[in-house]
Every structure is written in structure tokens, then in C-alpha cells.
């Protein structure tokens, strides 16, 4: 089983952006974020659920998210996360950066590229 320490830092940063993206639409609690990520990525990202929570805690510490205890539809206690203004700004900036990076990597690794 892949442990977080084996996952590289790039992925950790990318995970943060993905989680922010999830929360950009509405407030969610931890499980909802995990479920959303699973739905959006048709193949698994290869992450433990706990990695998502670690990302959530990290970003809450940095002030990108606010968290509050609430009640789910099933009347269960859950911790709801919301984007802060800083979080939104960070999402915008990082989205651009990650996409540009992905394009660069794709263009280098694609077949048909001379040299290599």
C-alpha cells in the first residue's frame, strides 16, 4: 500500500489544489471531499483517505480553509470545510501553475517530439 512518504511532494501540492477545487463549489465535510475526488478521477489517484485529511488540516493551518462542526444529512456530526478568500486566491494561482506544468510535462513526454 502506498504510504504518504512515498508519494512525492509534487503530488502533495497537487492534492491541495484538487481539494480546494472540490471545496470551491460548496462546503463539504471530509468524506464528501474524498468521495468527490474518487468520482472526478476515473482512475484512482493512489492515495489513502487519510492523505485527504492531512491536506485539509494543512490548509486549515495555513488559513486557506475554515472548519466548523456541523450536522450531516444523516444527522451525524461532521466537520465542514469552507474556502476562505485566501483559499480562493490560492486555488486560482495554483490551478494555472499546475496546468502549465502538466502541459509542459505532456509536451516533453509525448511521442512525436524530436530529440530525447
Amino acid at each position: 500500500m502506498a504510504r504518504p512518504s512515498e508519494q512525492n511532494t509534487i503530488l502533495k501540492g497537487t492534492l491541495d489544489v484538487l481539494v480546494l477545487k472540490a471545496l470551491s463549489r460548496s462546503s463539504m465535510h471530509g468524506f464528501e471531499v474524498t468521495a468527490w475526488l474518487e468520482e472526478q478521477a476515473s482512475s484512482s489517484l493512489g492515495l489513502d483517505d487519510s492523505a485527504v485529511y492531512q491536506a485539509l488540516y494543512r490548509m486549515e493551518k495555513r488559513g486557506l480553509l475554515n472548519a466548523e462542526w456541523g450536522v450531516t444529512d444523516n444527522n451525524r456530526r461532521a466537520r465542514y470545510y469552507t474556502l476562505t478568500r485566501a483559499g480562493r486566491a490560492h486555488l486560482k494561482a495554483e490551478t494555472g501553475r499546475v496546468l502549465r506544468y502538466a502541459d509542459t510535462v505532456r509536451s516533453i513526454l509525448s511521442p512525436g517530439r524530436q530529440g530525447g
Binding site: H29, G30, D49, S50, Y53, Y57
Partner: protein, 883 residues
């Protein structure tokens, strides 16, 4: 405790509980999802844990991350709370701009004063002289001033005292004459003993310093030239190294010697023992051992012990000890330099501290009033749940902001002021700071001292509003009519006590100020008996080798007088320095009567009285006929004449003078031919007995020359130099700088007392202003608070005057208490200034009464003004109907 200080609490157990709860919630959701897909509960649970990455491992990682988060979040929360406090305090201060401006402004000024005076104390008294281990340098006084020293101590072996004395320095200051004719100059330097320059850590700015070889017998004489002299005489030319320096010693046979210049002294180098004499012009090696007047003690040796050891050694070595000689005195070189300044520095520092105290008390009173005004608001806040602690914290922030801003502004002002005024202060105090002018600055020590004072004041001030009555029930406070709540008698007494303290402190300052004003007026108003305006002074020095006896002096002066007669300028020769009280001689009258009269004696030529504007009351002045060989004559001052001949007929009597130290050696009899008006040698000179004898009958080697001219001063000096050079180019004429004007010298003598007077006046006026502000504020508040009562009194027939008197009487009571307490302070002020006073007693009644009257009038006006203007302008009808 937690209720008082509502800080978010960080608690590991809570964090773990939170993580557990979140994990549980997540697992439940996952299990539900999986069960919906068809798994059994145990299977679903196992799968859920697997997807997490192992429950225990997940929990471990998440608790670690969550703890990090919680710590950071709570820290952020605390900072936000603090910033809110600050924001709130700033808003509160903004709402009362008058209060804020007065508070910060007056406190900043007070801090600036304290910082500046502390910097002076630091630069002069605490900082040691600019030599390594300067605190171990001591001056050796073999006898008390004026007393003879033990003789024959050439056998004193300092190496035997090596346990106590690390280094004995027998360097001696000396003077040379250099140049010729108009260029002739006297320079001051040092005969440096072996190791002396190393002791003082002197490294040559250019060339080399002295070394062992320079002290060897038969070595070529070498010289280190002073930085200033190098600049003025040689234009800072590095080529001067290796050239010859020709000079003749001022004392000695006067033969010209040659020295090879081998180095340039560092700029601003002063010899430790003669620090007050300024920078040195040259240093040459000392070849023969001399008496050591300075020692460096071994580390850890107390001065008293060293003094004892040295005294014993002197006693053993001396061939003769003067009668009554008890011991050698060791005085720290630093102490010797700054001792005269200590009282002045303490006086102004004490004054600055008093100003700071007054300012703080003033602020305390103002803050108390403010708190009373805001009592309703505070009551409401308490009702809404704020704890006492929170209110205290907000007070702390508010007073902290005020003190912090005041500190910053005050320090900035002080730094700028010190940088600009340091040279002026050095001049007024009469001594440069050891360590240079740049040393007068805000050092770390000063920062810490003033900062600590600021913190203390901030804490005390923040406690002030808490002294407003808390015990009153909230309901009462909220219910009470009017804008501000009534204050209890305790608060009123506190206010009165604070104001009385302010009055007392102001009185002390005013008394000090008054004493100095009277001193300066006395000094300035002292009639010296001679003219200083437009009187210039040169000094002639005849070299030893060519002028060996008074006859030779006289030949020179006769020639000079003849040549100078061609000019319209009157020249007065004398042997006495200006502003200097010279030793007393016993006067014997021809009736054989010794009478215990003594007087100072000076030799003057026939133009002296004329140039200095001294009138002749009886008889005649000196003439050209009063020469050696003619009858010995004298002129006496009025007071002396009255003493010698109460019948008024002093002219014609004969007197004889005798040096008091050498009893039995009397001068010849002289006939009194004239009586001159009284002269004071300095402003504080009380001895008005003077004897004048003709210059021709007692010419001097070193003769001050006075003259007045309406031409620019330089004309006179050049003229004198030219004529002297025409007779003998090796005779030195000094003078021509600004110090050569008697008026300038007089100004310099008065500079110190004037400085102290202006400082104290400024401090005292500032203190009085603050006291007035305090009284004004308190009265204005009282007027506003008692509006209804006043309206009622007016309605039942009280006159305006009676209403005003209500408040003025209150003020009078406070004032009386303050003045009574202030008298103690006034006594202390007088004691502190004792050495600076002249012509006035420390407990001078006139000063005490005037100071008391001044502060009394100021305070009464300050209480009358708001009472007259205030709520008494509205008619009782309006006021009573208001609420």
C-alpha cells in the same frame, strides 16, 4: 482564571478527541456507502479502514497534523485578539484627539528631557576615558593643593611596589617656543616617559610611535607632532616626516634644540592627567626620570590599599617630610576630570526626572477623569460579559500605546537635539566629554533606562482608571442621570492628592529655577570695577636665555614702549592674568601696625588704569618717572585705603608687603601716591584689597598686555607682533583668537551658570504649564459634573461669584497642601544647587515666596477659568429641564 483571560486554550486531549470524532464520522459514511453496495458490516468496516491506510496509522498521522494546526490556529487567534485590542485603543484615542495630543506630546517632551540628561550623565560620569583600563589610572597627589610636597624622593623605587602598581608614569607636560618673529608660537606638549604611550594605547596616525631606542642615552632627539599642529603649521604634508623640528624649551635655558619628526599623533589625543588642557601639540621622549604623578594600579587592587602602600613607600624614601604631612592622595583620573561637573549634571537630571514625574501625574489625573467619563460605557461592557481582566488588558494597551508613541517621539527628538547641541553643551559645561563629542548620544544604557521608565509609567497609568469606583453596582451606574457618573469621595481625594503632588514638584523646580536666576543676575550685575568691552589682551613671553634679570626685561619693555608710542593705541603692561585671584600678601603699614590686612599685588604701567577704565580717586597714577632708582611707590584700592587709613588720608603713608609663606622676607617700603576704585578679579571675588606697583619697578617675564582700539582687533595684534619682532624676533606674542577679548572671557565665565539657569527655567515653566493643565482639567470636569447642583444653587439665589468661588476654594485647599509639601522639595533643591549659587542663600525667602506665589496664581487662574466659562453660562431653567 480562565474567565478573566479569555484566550483560546490549546489542549492535546481535545485535539485527539476532535480527530477521533472526524475519523469516526468518515468511517461511518464509508461503511454506509459500502454496505449500500452490498458488503456486510464487518467487511465494510475492514474495507473502510483499509482505504484509510490503516486506522492506527491514519490516526497517528492525523493527530500529528491536527496538533500542528491547532497550535497555529490558537496562536493566530491570540494575535488577532491583541490586534483588536490595539485597534480599539487607537479608535478610543482618536475619539479624544485633544487628550491624545496633550498626553503624547507632554510625555514625549518629558522623555526627551530625561533621555538627554541621562545621555549627558552617561557620557561624562559613567563612560570611562578613552584609554584601555582607564579606571585603573590614578593621579598621585603627594600633598594637598597649595601645600609643599615631600622632598628627596629620588630613591623611591616603583618596582618594589609592583604588587600594587602596575605602571608608574612620570610623563610631564611641557611647553616649547617655535618659529620666529610674527610666526613665533608657543606649543603645549608632553615629555613622555618610557611606556607612557603604550599605557595610553597611542598609535601614530602617520609614521611611527616612540620606541626603546629613542630613550637610549645619546640617541637622536625625536618628536611626534600633534595632529592639529601638523595641519596648521605644515598643511598636513606627509613629507614632514624625517624633517627637523626646531624649538626652544619655555622653561630652561631657552637654547634652541632640534628634533627629528618621526610620526604624527592621532587626532584628538589628550594626555590622561591633563585632559582638561586639550590636545597635545607634540610628544618627545623623557630622558631623565622625574617624579611620577600618575600610576596604573594592578587589576583588583583597591585604591585605598594602594594609597596606603604608596604613602608608606614615600615616607621611607623621602629625605624630608613637610610638617603636618599625612599621606599621599590617589585620585582617579576620570574623577579628577569630571568632579566639578557632577553637581550640575545631577541637578539637571534631577530636574528632568521631576518633570517626568509631573508629566506622569498629570497624565494619571487626565486618565482618571477620562475613565470617570466612560464609566457608563465600562459598566455596560461588564454587563455584556467583559471580565475585569479584559478591561485591564485594554487599559494596558491604551496606556502602552500612548507611552510607546511618546517614547519613540521623545527618543527621536532627543537624538536629534543631542547631535545638534552636543558641542554647545560641552562648551557651556566647560569640559569636553571624555571619549569625544560623539559620545554624547543615546547609548544602550540610556535606552534601557528610559525604556524601563516608559514601561513602568505605562503600567502605573493603566492602573489609574481601575481606581475609579468599581464597587458601585452596575445598576446604579447605568441608572444615574447625566453623561458621567458621580465619583465617590475616594476618587476625589485621589485626584486632589495627585494635583497636590504636581504642585509640590512644580514648586521645587520653580525654587531651583528662581535661585539660579538670582545667582545669574547677581553675577551679571556684579560690577567688576574694570571695563571688559573692547578690551583685548595679548601676552608677551621673554625667553629665558636672553633675558636673565628684571633689568633685561625692562630694557625690552622700554624699547617696546618707545616704538608703540607712535600709535594712537594705549598699551597697558602688567604682570597679572585676568580673571585670576592671585595669592595674598601681608600688608604692613608704616605705623608698625600689621593689622592682619592682606591684599593681592600686581605690577602695572601708567596706562593700565586708563585702558581698563579704573578711576583714580585720590592722588595720582603712575608716570614714566616711576622707574627703578626713583622712589618706590604704590597705589592702593579704595577699600584697602580705608582700612589702612580710616581717616581717609592714605596718600603719603608707606606700606610694605610680605609673602605669607616666607615669613620674614618683606619687600621695601613704598609710598602710597594714589587711590584707585575697587576692582573684582572675578564675579565672585570678595577681596577688594589690591596694591598696584609700577611695572617698571617690577617688570615680568610673562606679561599680559591690554589695549583698546576701535580698529578691528587683528590690527592691534599684528601691530604689536611687528614691533616686538623688530626688537627681538624670538620674543613670543600670543593672542589674537576670540579668547583674547576680555568680553569673550567674561562671557565664558558666566556660560555655566547661565546654562543651568536657562535649563531650569524651561523645565520649571513646562512643569507649571502641566500643573495648570491638570488643575484646569479637573475643575472643568467638576463643573460639568455638578451642572445640576449649580443650576439649583443659582435658582435659589447664589451669585455667579459665589458659584465660581465654590471651585476656586477647592483648588485653594489642594494648592495649600501642595505648597506645604513642596517646601520640602524646595529645601532639597536648594541643597542640591548649593555649589552653583552666588549671592543667594539656598533657603532664600524672596525666592520661596515668589515661587509659591507664581504657582499659586497659575493654579488659581487655571481653576477660575473653567469655572467662569463653564456650565454657568446656561440658565438654570435650561439645565434643570435637560433630563
Amino acid at each position: 482564571m480562565r474567565r478573566w483571560f479569555r484566550l483560546p486554550v490549546t489542549d492535546r486531549v481535545r485535539t485527539e478527541a476532535d480527530v477521533d470524532a472526524e475519523l469516526a464520522s468518515h468511517i461511518e459514511e464509508r461503511v454506509q456507502r459500502l454496505m449500500a453496495k452490498g458488503l456486510t458490516e464487518p467487511e465494510a468496516r475492514a474495507e473502510a479502514e483499509r482505504l484509510l491506510g490503516g486506522l492506527a496509522q491514519a490516526r497517528y498521522r492525523l493527530v500529528h497534523e491536527a496538533w500542528d494546526r491547532d497550535v497555529r490556529l490558537s496562536r493566530r487567534e491570540r494575535m488577532r485578539a491583541r490586534l483588536d485590542d490595539v485597534r480599539y485603543a487607537v479608535r478610543a484615542l482618536r475619539r479624544g484627539p485633544m487628550f491624545t495630543a496633550v498626553a503624547v506630546g507632554s510625555l514625549a517632551l518629558a522623555f526627551a528631557l530625561v533621555a538627554s540628561t541621562t545621555a549627558l550623565v552617561d557620557a561624562y560620569l559613567l563612560r570611562s576615558m578613552p584609554y584601555p583600563d582607564a579606571d585603573r589610572l590614578y593621579q598621585v597627589n603627594y600633598a594637598l593643593p597649595g601645600e609643599p610636597e615631600p622632598r628627596g624622593m629620588s630613591s623611591l623605587d616603583w618596582s618594589a611596589l609592583a604588587t600594587v602598581v602596575e605602571h608608574a608614569d612620570d610623563s610631564a607636560p611641557t611647553r616649547f617656543y617655535i618659529g620666529a618673529g610674527a610666526d613665533r608660537q608657543e606649543v603645549m606638549g608632553l615629555l613622555a616617559a618610557r611606556g607612557s604611550l603604550e599605557l595610553l594605547d597611542v598609535t601614530a596616525a602617520s609614521g611611527r610611535s616612540l620606541d626603546e631606542n629613542d630613550y637610549a642615552a645619546g640617541a637622536e632627539p625625536v618628536l611626534l607632532i600633534g595632529h592639529d599642529l601638523w595641519r596648521t603649521r605644515y598643511g598636513s604634508d606627509p613629507g614632514v616626516m624625517g624633517s627637523l623640528f626646531r624649538a626652544s624649551r619655555a622653561s630652561g635655558d631657552g637654547a634652541e634644540e632640534s628634533f627629528r619628526i618621526v610620526g604624527v599623533l592621532p587626532p584628538n589625543f589628550r594626555f590622561a592627567r591633563t585632559y582638561s588642557r586639550g590636545t597635545l601639540d607634540f610628544v618627545v621622549p623623557l630622558r631623565e626620570p622625574m617624579r611620577a604623578y600618575m600610576v596604573q594600579l594592578r587589576e583588583g587592587v583597591p585604591a585605598a590599599h594602594a594609597q596606603q602602600v604608596i604613602t608608606d613607600a614615600v615616607r621611607r624614601a623621602a629625605t624630608s617630610l613637610p610638617p603636618g604631612w599625612s599621606s599621599v592622595q590617589l585620585e582617579s583620573v576620570h574623577e579628577g576630570y569630571i568632579a566639578p561637573l557632577r553637581p550640575v549634571l545631577f541637578a539637571i537630571t534631577a530636574a528632568a526626572v521631576i518633570v517626568l514625574i509631573i508629566t506622569s501625574i498629570n497624565l494619571a489625573v487626565l486618565m482618571l477623569l477620562r475613565a470617570l467619563r466612560r464609566q457608563k460605557e465600562s459598566a455596560m461592557r461588564i454587563a455584556l460579559g467583559a471580565g475585569r481582566g479584559q478591561l485591564l488588558r485594554m487599559q494596558l494597551v491604551e496606556s502602552g500605546l500612548v507611552c510607546g508613541a511618546a517614547l519613540l517621539i521623545g527618543l527621536a527628538v532627543s537624538m536629534t537635539a543631542l547631535r545638534m547641541l552636543a558641542p554647545v553643551v560641552e562648551e557651556r559645561l566647560g569640559r569636553d566629554a571624555p571619549g569625544g563629542t560623539m559620545a554624547i548620544a543615546i547609548s544602550l544604557r540610556v535606552l534601557l533606562a528610559v525604556g524601563a521608565a516608559g514601561v513602568l509609567i505605562s503600567l502605573l497609568l493603566s492602573l489609574m482608571p481601575l481606581l475609579a469606583p468599581w464597587h458601585r453596582r452596575l445598576a446604579d451606574t447605568l441608572r444615574s442621570a447625566g453623561r458621567s457618573a458621580t465619583d465617590g469621595s475616594a476618587t476625589r481625594r485621589l485626584r486632589s492628592a495627585l494635583l497636590a503632588l504636581q504642585v509640590a514638584a512644580s514648586l521645587a523646580l520653580l525654587v531651583g529655577c528662581g535661585l539660579m536666576i538670582r545667582t545669574v543676575l547677581n553675577l551679571v550685575g556684579t560690577d567688576l570695577g574694570f571695563r571688559t568691552e573692547h578690551v583685548l589682551r595679548a601676552r608677551i613671553a621673554l625667553p629665558d636665555d636672553r633675558y636673565v634679570d628684571p633689568a633685561a626685561f625692562l630694557r625690552f619693555y622700554d624699547q617696546l614702549t618707545e616704538r608703540l608710542a607712535a600709535y594712537p593705541i594705549p598699551w597697558a603692561f602688567t604682570n597679572a592674568s585676568p580673571f585670576y585671584e592671585y595669592p595674598q600678601l601681608a600688608i604692613e603699614l608704616d605705623s608698625g601696625d600689621r593689622g592682619g590686612v592682606d591684599a593681592g599685588q600686581m605690577a602695572v604701567n601708567e596706562r593700565y588704569f586708563d585702558v581698563l577704565g579704573i578711576t583714580l580717586r585720590h592722588g595720582r597714577g603712575f608716570t614714566a618717572a616711576d622707574r627703578p632708582g626713583a622712589e618706590p611707590v604704590a597705589i592702593v584700592s579704595e577699600t584697602l585705603a580705608r582700612r589702612l587709613a580710616p581717616d581717609g588720608r592714605a596718600v603719603g603713608r608707606r606700606i610694605r608687603t610680605a609673602d605669607q609663606a616666607d615669613v620674614g622676607v618683606a619687600s621695601e617700603w613704598r609710598t602710597i601716591v594714589g587711590v584707585a576704585s575697587d576692582v573684582r578679579q572675578t564675579h565672585t571675588d570678595t577681596d577688594l584689597d589690591d596694591v598696584y606697583i609700577p611695572f617698571a619697578q617690577a617688570p615680568a617675564r610673562y606679561a599680559p598686555v591690554y589695549f583698546t582700539t576701535d580698529q578691528p582687533p587683528s590690527v592691534g595684534f599684528e601691530l604689536l607682533r611687528a614691533e616686538v619682532a623688530a626688537i627681538d624676533p624670538l620674543v613670543l606674542v600670543s593672542g589674537g583668537a576670540t579668547s583674547s577679548s576680555l568680553a569673550e572671557q567674561e562671557k565664558r565665565l558666566l556660560a555655566g551658570p547661565r546654562f543651568l539657569m536657562s535649563l531650569l527655567t524651561a523645565f520649571a515653566l513646562f512643569a507649571a504649564l502641566l500643573t495648570a493643565l491638570g488643575v484646569y482639567g479637573v475643575t472643568a470636569y467638576a463643573v460639568q459634573q455638578r451642572e445640576r447642583e449649580l443650576a439649583i444653587r443659582a435658582a435659589v439665589g447664589a451669585t455667579r461669584r459665589q458659584l465660581i468661588l465654590l471651585f476656586v476654594n477647592d483648588a485653594v485647599r489642594t494648592l495649600a497642601a501642595g505648597i506645604a509639601a513642596g517646601l520640602f522639595g524646595a529645601v532639597a533643591a536648594g541643597r542640591l544647587l548649593l555649589n552653583q549659587l552666588h549671592g543667594v542663600q539656598p533657603l532664600d525667602p524672596l525666592t520661596l515666596v515668589s515661587a509659591g506665589a507664581f504657582i499659586g496664581i497659575v493654579a488659581l487662574l487655571a481653576s477660575w477659568w473653567p469655572a467662569a466659562r463653564g456650565g454657568l453660562s446656561r440658565t438654570p431653567f435650561v439645565v434643570l429641564n435637560a433630563d
